[in-house]
C-alpha cells in the first residue's frame, strides 16, 4: 500500500511560520484537513503537490523524496486549487482535453465523458467556462483533478459553491476514490468530512493539533457537551464567560444553548448532549 510521509515540514515566509514541524503519515483513504482561515492548510497542500518548496523537512512517497521522483510523482497527483478557475473562452470539453493532454491521459475522450457524467456536466459540456456558475466551475475543477486516476488527490475547499445535492454526490465520489488513493481534503465544512474521512487532521497556527479518526475525536468529547434552555440574553452572556458556546438555537418561545465544559457545569437544569463534530471544531479551534 502506498504511503505519503510528511517529516518535520516547516514553511516560513519571512518571520511568519505558516507550517511548523508537521509530521504525518498517510495511507490509502480520505483525510480531512480541518482548520480556521490562516491555519496553514493551503500552504501544506501546496507543498504536498510540489508547488512550493518547504523551508525545512521533507515529503516522501513510498520512502523516496518527491523532488527526486519529480515527474513520476506529478504523474500520481490530482490537485484542485482553492481558487480554481479556467480560460473563459474555452468550452468545458476543450479545457478538459487540454488538461488530459498535460496529464498524458490515454483514451482521453472516454475518460472525459466518464468524468463529465460523474460531476453532472454532460449536458453543458459545450458551454464556455465564462458562462458557468461558481459551483459548475468547481465541478470542472474536480473533473480535471481526476483525469489521470490519481493516487494522491489533494482537494482544497472542493465543495465551495456546491449545493447540498452536489455536495452529497461529491462525498459519495470521494468515499469511493479513497479505497485506492490517498485523498486529502481541506474544508471549513465539517459535514464534508465527518461521514467519509478515515482520519481528521486538525491544524491551527501552522501546527497539527490532533490527528485521529472521527470516532476517536468524538470519544474525546464524551461527557463534555451540555445543553441548557435559557430565559434571556444575560444568561447566554454568563455562559459565554465561563464556557465555550457551540451554538445558540432560538425558537419561538425558547432559546437553547449548546456549550462545552470540561467539568460538571455549575448551572442547574443542564443536560448532557451527544458530541458532534461541530463541538470538536469549537473545542480545538476556539481556545
Amino acid at each position: 500500500m502506498s504511503k505519503l510521509e510528511i517529516v518535520g515540514l516547516t514553511k516560513a515566509y519571512g518571520k511568519k511560520i505558516a507550517n511548523d514541524h508537521i509530521n504525518i503519515s498517510l495511507n490509502c483513504g480520505v483525510y480531512g484537513l480541518l482548520g480556521p482561515n490562516g491555519a496553514g492548510k493551503t500552504t501544506l497542500m501546496r507543498q504536498i503537490v510540489a508547488l512550493t518548496k518547504p523551508t525545512s523537512g521533507e515529503i516522501l512517497y513510498d520512502g523516496q523524496k518527491i523532488e527526486v521522483l519529480d515527474t513520476k510523482y506529478r504523474n500520481l497527483l490530482g490537485y484542485l486549487p482553492q481558487d480554481f478557475d479556467a480560460y473563459g473562452n474555452f468550452k468545458i470539453l476543450e479545457f478538459l482535453e487540454y488538461m488530459a493532454a498535460l496529464k498524458d491521459v490515454k483514451d482521453s475522450k472516454a475518460k472525459i465523458n466518464e468524468l463529465m457524467s460523474l460531476v453532472g456536466l454532460q449536458e453543458v459540456k459545450g458551454r464556455k467556462i465564462a458562462k458557468l456558475s461558481g459551483g459548475m466551475k468547481r465541478r470542472v475543477g474536480i473533473a480535471q483533478a481526476l483525469l489521470n486516476n490519481p493516487k494522491i488527490l489533494v482537494l482544497d475547499e472542493p465543495t465551495a459553491g456546491l449545493d447540498p445535492q452536489e455536495r452529497n454526490r461529491f462525498r459519495n465520489m470521494i468515499s469511493n476514490l479513497g479505497k485506492e488513493a490517498i485523498v486529502i481534503l481541506s474544508t471549513h465544512i465539517i459535514s464534508d468530512v465527518e461521514q467519509v474521512a478515515k482520519e481528521i487532521i486538525m491544524i491551527k497556527n501552522g501546527r497539527v493539533r490532533i490527528k485521529a479518526s472521527g470516532k476517536e475525536l468524538l470519544g474525546k468529547m464524551a461527557g463534555k457537551v451540555f445543553g441548557i434552555r435559557v430565559k434571556d440574553e444575560e444568561q447566554i452572556a454568563e455562559i459565554n464567560e465561563k464556557y465555550k458556546i457551540v451554538n445558540v438555537q432560538r425558537g419561538a418561545d425558547y432559546t437553547n444553548v449548546r456549550f462545552i465544559s470540561h467539568s460538571k457545569p455549575e448551572i442547574v437544569d443542564v443536560w448532557k448532549e451527544e458530541p458532534m463534530f461541530e463541538d470538536v471544531y469549537i473545542e480545538y479551534f476556539e481556545r
Binding site: K53, F84, A86, Y98, L102, K103
Partner: protein
C-alpha cells in the same frame, strides 16, 4: 503535443482584441499597397511592409504578453504545474506563439501582395526584383513572388525570436504591460534608428545586423547587406530565441521558495 499546440494557438489568437486589431491592420495595409505600374505596385509592398512593422509588433506583443499572464490571471498555472507535462506547456506555447506571429506577418504581406497584384491585373509576379525601383540596387534576378517567399521565411525566423523574448517577459511579469512595452522596445529601436536617421548612433551597417532587419529581408536586399548579415541574423535569431525559450522553462516551472 499537437492537441496542446492547437489549444495554445486558440488561447493566443482567439481573443476579441487580437482579432479586431488584426482585421483593422489588414484593412489598413490593403489601402496603402498598390500602384499604377508593376514597379510601383510591388515596390509599395516591400517598402511599406517595413513601415507597418510597428503595427505588426503591436499585434505580436499583444499575443505574447498575455501568454503566461493569462495562466496567472485564471490561476491555471497551479493546475498546470502539478502535471507531468508542465514543460510541454512551455514548448507548446513557444510553437503556438511562433505560428501566431508568423500568421500575422505573412497574412499582412499576403494582403499587400494581393492588393498590389490586383492593381496591375496580377501581372509581373515573375518580374526580377532588380526591375522594381525599391529593390533595383539588389541587381538580383529573383522574382517578386520568390522575394515574397523569402520575406515570409524570414518572418517565420524573426517571429520565433520575438515570440521567445515576449514569452519569457510574460512568464516573469505580473501584468501584460511590461512584456508589451519591453518587447516593443526591443523590436522598435532599430526602426526608430532608421526613421530618425540617427545614423551616428545607429549606423545602417549595424542596423543590418539587428533582428528587426533580419526579419525584414527586403531591407537587407535593398541596402545590399553582406552575406554575413544574413548568416548573423539567422543564427542570432535561432540561438537567442532558443536561449530565451530555456529561460522561460526555468521561470515558469520552478517551484516557488
Amino acid at each position: 503535443m499537437n492537441k496542446l499546440v492547437r489549444l495554445e494557438l486558440k488561447k493566443a489568437i482567439v481573443r476579441k482584441g487580437v482579432l479586431i486589431t488584426w482585421g483593422v491592420v489588414l484593412f489598413l495595409v490593403c489601402m496603402i499597397a498598390g500602384g499604377t505600374t508593376v514597379s510601383d505596385s510591388y515596390s509599395s509592398v516591400f517598402q511599406k511592409i517595413y513601415l507597418v512593422s510597428p503595427l505588426m509588433g503591436i499585434l505580436m506583443f499583444m499575443i505574447f504578453s498575455e501568454a503566461y499572464i493569462m495562466e496567472y490571471k485564471y490561476r491555471t498555472d497551479d493546475s498546470i504545474k502539478t502535471t507531468k507535462k508542465q514543460k510541454e506547456v512551455v514548448i507548446a506555447k513557444s510553437i503556438a506563439n511562433t505560428i501566431a506571429a508568423s500568421l500575422i506577418c505573412i497574412s499582412i504581406l499576403a494582403a499587400m501582395m494581393i492588393r498590389a497584384a490586383s492593381a496591375v491585373d496580377f501581372q509581373g509576379l515573375d518580374t526580377p526584383i532588380k526591375e522594381i525601383w525599391f529593390l533595383e540596387n539588389s541587381g538580383s534576378n529573383i522574382t517578386v513572388l520568390e522575394m515574397a517567399g523569402i520575406q515570409s521565411l524570414t518572418f517565420i525566423i524573426g517571429s520565433f525570436l520575438f515570440a521567445q523574448i515576449g514569452l519569457f517577459l510574460s512568464s516573469t511579469s505580473k501584468s501584460a504591460v511590461k512584456p508589451f512595452l519591453l518587447g516593443g522596445i526591443v523590436m522598435g529601436i532599430p526602426f526608430l534608428g532608421n526613421i530618425y536617421g540617427v545614423s551616428q548612433v545607429f549606423p545602417l551597417k549595424f542596423l543590418l545586423y539587428t533582428p528587426l532587419y533580419g526579419m525584414f529581408s527586403s531591407q537587407l536586399i535593398r541596402y545590399g547587406a553582406p552575406t554575413s548579415a544574413y548568416v548573423f541574423d539567422g543564427i542570432f535569431s535561432i540561438t537567442i530565441g532558443y536561449l530565451f525559450y530555456r529561460f522561460t522553462i526555468r521561470s515558469f516551472t520552478r517551484r516557488r521558495g
